[in-house]
């Protein structure tokens, strides 16, 4: 492991620790009693107190933080207040929706954006570049939830090609499950692709201005060969940086998109858990999301080292 990566890893761990404190502290001040929430309007005070005791809500703050974080590290995320099942089980169930959704949209946005960006950069200033960049400009401006709505009404309600939402579960077969993820994935992917295409194009244009591109051209390599063999790899660093940053946006986007398509994913879980004051679920899922962001960015850093030998550090 190189010093560069060691440092990034250390930073990741510190970030995670700080984040855990922030998350815990934030949720401690959330108003609303989870116990009363579970029992409802007409429950007696006794019943609520009994439940608070059962849930460990009466312990001191620091103890609860330590037991939470301790459990978290050993893979025991605690038990959901509302569902009264282990959080880990919930997370596992929900990840089966969110993870494929995130990966599909990440994949979609990448396979759309990179060729478009490459094409636009190669045809800089031409009409096709203007059209591609105009479209991407529009893509960046469209709120994904609005786009999702348009998709639902076109493909689900009007054309009845795809389900309007919901998730049949992977048990119902791969195709039905995938079908349910197509529209949400597109709604998530397209705005991301728009940004990524722009970044790809401008990164490529930056690289194309470098001296070594002239060196490569002076070798006699045709323009396209130079673009693929010399420019692309150098342009990947900013592109990967944006991919890493976008991952966090993607996760945030899933919260909204999962709500639009009523997909039982992590995003909706955490959103519901916040409104239902299922604090333990919120804490765990947020931490998990933060950890995912950090890991993804660590992978991005790792990819830098793969792409750029200067960071490998002999």
């Amino acid at each position: 492991m190189t010093p560069f990566l060691l440092k990034r890893l250390g930073i990741g761990i510190v970030t995670l620790l700080l984040a855990s404190i922030v998350v815990f502290a934030m949720l401690e001040v959330v108003p609303g009693d989870p116990a009363r929430m579970m029992l409802g309007m007409n429950a007696t005070e006794d019943a609520v107190q009994a439940l608070r005791e059962q849930m460990g809500l009466n312990q001191p703050l620091i103890m609860r933080y330590l037991s939470w974080i301790g459990g978290f590290l050993t893979g025991d995320f605690g038990r959901s207040y509302t569902y009264s099942v282990p959080v880990a089980q919930l997370v596992a169930e929900r990840s089966a929706v969110s993870l494929p959704l995130a990966l599909i949209s990440l994949f979609l946005s990448t396979v759309i954006a990179i060729p478009v960006g490459l094409y636009a950069a190669a045809h800089r200033g031409k009409a096709s570049d203007t059209v591609a960049m105009g479209a991407s400009q529009l893509g960046v401006a469209i709120p994904n939830f609005w786009f999702a709505l348009l998709l639902v009404y076109v493909f689900a309600v009007a054309l009845r090609m795809l389900p309007a939402g919901g998730f049949p579960g992977w048990g119902a077969g791969v195709w039905p499950a995938l079908k349910a993820l197509i529209l949400p994935a597109i709604a998530l992917a397209l705005p991301q692709a728009a940004i990524l295409a722009r970044v790809t194009r401008s990164a490529l244009l930056d690289v194309l201005n470098e001296d070594y591109i002239r060196t490569a051209r002076a070798k006699g390599l045709p323009r396209n060969t130079v673009l693929w063999r010399h420019a692309l790899r150098n342009a990947l660093i900013p592109v990967f940086t944006i991919l890493g940053l976008q991952f966090s946006f993607l996760l945030a986007g899933t919260i909204i998109i999962e709500n639009v398509f009523y997909l039982p994913g992590l995003g909706r879980l955490v959103f519901q858990a916040i409104t239902q004051r299922d604090l333990i679920v919120v804490e765990s899922v947020v931490m998990l999301l933060v950890a995912t962001v950090i890991v993804v960015n660590l992978l991005v850093d790792l990819s830098y080292a793969v792409i750029d030998p200067r960071l490998r550090n002999a």
């Binding site: 609303g32 009693d33 007409n42 019943a47 039982p264």
Partner: protein, 493 residues
């Protein structure tokens, strides 16, 4: 020739069988707005629990039917002692829980004792408050002795909170409910859907459906989309009344409007000045235009009410004329209360559309008489804490969905802060009266007192818009109790 006939016969037969195959559709996806937190109706108040398991998975001694009347369930029959204190239930025999264990009187004793125990987390402990002892006389007979006669006891035993559970599975019912009902719990994909399947060993009339899935769709827009696309074939208590006209126009669907027990009210904090002044409350009552609220917030769905009582109840009296919409009168009353310069108040709104949308309209109506409402949307958890428990509110909008719950106005420390000994007396009397005519009269008195006192702003009785596939039959139109009883549901054709 003969051969041709044979062929024809075979063809007819084929048609017939394929028609039979069509008619044999036995699955159903039913939309529900709220996902239950767990599936044990005896350990949580959430209506969403009953909406899945009531009558389907769990059964009580009695049950409430679509008309709201009490029917026998696990108790085949019962007798009541002349003093009205001892109920002797005769139980069905040969009943088995889904895990195979046998149902008998001991289970009933266990269930009732558990529900009323000191450490019980039953959300409706009040239902069992009058029970003195429960005795298993023999495996098929249970004797319940009350402390005092209670007119509603049989009705109470029909609540979801009073269903009979087995000691073996009581602890795990939250995740894996085990009851005696015609459906067995199969799977719960949390956040998504709950699936129940036909119980082949059911003691009573077998159900027509083999499999039913309750799909959770909290979002009105998504609900509309799901129904239109056919993903969901039935959506009782459909959350998007705005789609009514569109759905009614579509021959694929059947749209019905049923009643609920939900009195939607503008709750007023009676303890807090200036609302302790009846003039201010009356002014609010005059300022409210119920029809505009029903049209604007519920797209015309709902019946105006003048007091805290369901219009479909035989004891209902129409008091909507007590304070008709009259802005001038309202302004005058404000002036009399010395508030002609206007006041600023908060209006806390829980998440349902009736509250959020209705709140906007009410705020606009109250503005006309000088009451400036700051709208504060709150989550249910906050609402329960801030409004219901801490009574930290001026105005709020909420639907009280428990049936026959006019007695809440007599509860001390209830969040309205209403205290009227005359009203309390009526309720006390009601509690010990079982004569129907007398009860009706008492209910009428109670309604009048509340209406005259303008305790809260009485808005409308929540209507229940149901949407289902036109080929589906047997679903409840009304909801006298929170339930989606699927026992009679079947597909035609």
């Amino acid at each position: 020739m003969n051969g041709f006939k044979k062929l024809l016969a075979a063809g007819v037969l084929l048609l017939a069988t394929s028609a039979a195959a069509l008619a044999a559709r036995t699955d159903l996806v039913l939309g529900v707005v709220l996902e239950p937190p767990h599936l044990d109706p005896t350990a949580g108040a959430a209506a969403a629990i009953d909406e899945v398991v009531y009558a389907n998975v769990f059964e009580g001694l009695t049950r409430i039917d679509e008309t709201g009347s009490v029917q026998p369930a696990l108790a085949e029959s019962w007798t009541i002692s002349p003093d009205g204190k001892v109920y002797t239930f005769k139980l069905h025999t040969g009943v088995k829980f889904h895990d195979g264990s046998t149902f008998d009187a001991e289970d009933v004793k266990f269930s009732l004792d558990r529900a009323r125990a000191a450490d019980s987390t039953n959300a409706q402990k009040g239902l069992f408050a009058q029970i003195d002892t429960v005795e298993a006389v023999d495996p098929a007979t249970v004797k319940v002795t009350l402390k005092q006669p209670q007119g509603a006891f049989l009705y109470n035993m029909g609540w979801g909170d009073a269903v009979i559970v087995a000691p073996e599975s009581a602890a795990t019912n939250k995740e894996k409910p085990v009851g005696t009902g015609p459906f067995k719990f199969e799977n719960w994909a949390r956040g998504s859907s709950i699936t129940i399947v036909k119980n082949p060993d059911y003691w009573g009339t077998p159900v027509a459906l083999d499999k039913a899935e309750f799909r959770v769709i909290p979002d009105p827009a998504a609900a509309t989309a799901a129904v239109l696309s056919g993903d969901v074939q039935a959506f009782p208590f459909f959350p998007a009344p705005e789609a009514r006209a569109q759905l009614e126009a579509d021959p694929r669907f059947k749209v019905t409007i049923g009643t609920t027990e939900g009195e939607t009210i503008l709750s007023i904090n009676n303890k807090k000045p200036p609302f302790d002044n009846i003039k201010v409350r009356q002014a609010i009552a005059y300022a409210i235009d119920r029809q505009a609220i029903i049209d604007g917030a519920m797209f015309g769905l709902g019946t105006p009410i003048g007091s805290h009582f369901a219009p479909h109840n035989p004891a209902y009296i129409d008091l909507t004329g007590t304070y008709p919409h009259n802005v001038e009168k309202a302004k005058e009353l404000m002036k009399e209360a010395g508030l002609q310069d206007g006041i600023k108040v908060t209006l806390k709104l829980p998440p349902p559309p009736y509250a959020r949308r209705g709140g906007e309209i009410i705020a606009s109506q109250l503005r006309e008489i000088g009451i400036e409402c700051e709208i504060v949307p709150v989550e249910w958890a906050d609402w329960l804490q801030q409004v219901f428990k801490d009574k930290n509110f001026d105005l709020t909008i909420v639907s009280h969905t428990e049936p026959n719950d006019i007695d809440i106005y007599s509860r001390k420390d209830y969040y309205f802060g209403y205290d009227n000994p005359a009203f309390d007396k009526v309720i006390e009397e009601l509690n010990v009266t079982s004569d129907e005519a007398k009860r009706k009269e008492l209910y009428g008195q109670a309604q009048k007192i509340l209406a005259d006192d303008a305790v809260v702003g009485f808005l409308f009785e929540l209507a229940r818009m149901n949407v289902w596939d036109a080929k589906l039959e047997g679903l409840w139109v009304n909801a006298p109790i929170q339930a989606n009883d699927l026992t009679k549901v079947h597909w035609t054709e």
